[in-house]
């Protein structure tokens, strides 16, 4: 089985992303959506938490949410995949179960 975790909270404000990372097992994917996309930025207080986890976990971030918030793709941590709503659907279908870290 392989799990998809979605995170929609800013890691600068809440512990959702930290908790999702802690509970993702090797081969899982984490998708950042809504205010969760701030977790994909380079150079924030929480960027290291993400880069440290990238060996075991695949990270994805919603492009439409990045654009809405004025976050240029150049600021995204290398290795995080930028997707759209179609990509979100694909991730859901490719993983056996989806868990939302609300």
């Amino acid at each position: 089985m392989s799990q998809l975790h979605t995170v929609n909270k800013s890691p600068l404000e809440r512990i959702a992303l930290e908790s999702a990372i802690k509970h993702a097992v090797k081969g899982n994917a984490i998708l950042m959506i809504e205010d969760g996309v701030y977790g994909a930025m380079q150079g924030t207080q929480k960027s290291g938490m993400v880069t440290d986890a990238m060996g075991d976990i695949s990270f994805y971030v919603m492009g439409p949410d990045l654009k809405a918030r004025g976050i240029d793709e150049a600021r995204i941590i290398d290795g995080i995949n930028i997707i759209d709503y179609n990509g979100f659907v694909t991730l859901v279908t490719e993983h056996d179960v989806t868990q939302s870290w609300l």
Binding site: Y85, V89, T98
Partner: protein, 130 residues
Amino acid sequence: MKISVMISEGPYTHQASDTAYHFTKAALEGGHEIFRVFFYHDGVNNGTRLATPPQDDRNIVNRWSELAAEHNLDLVLCVAAAQRRGIADPDEAKRNGKDADNIAPGFRISGLGQLIEAGIQSDRLVTFGD
């Protein structure tokens, strides 16, 4: 693939209903079946026909109603959550002695069992909330 969606927050205040809408639309366009969209917690507030958002903004309620009409979607509002928050269809209004109802077209009110059934019947269940 058969997918169900749970929405736990009301319109406008949180992005949950927006993201769920775009996800649902993309799933339908991708050829997947949406077994059910279940509205729980404040999510039931997506199902009121009394909303009049500003002209220059999206109409979240109507958008759901239209998507439901187009794709024959099953939009279910949890009855217990709806009662607490004041969302009623004609039957509910009558049963609870209310003089009006406010449910929007394309939505129906039913029990939490519909959520569990969605979990059992669907290949995937995706939750959008706060």
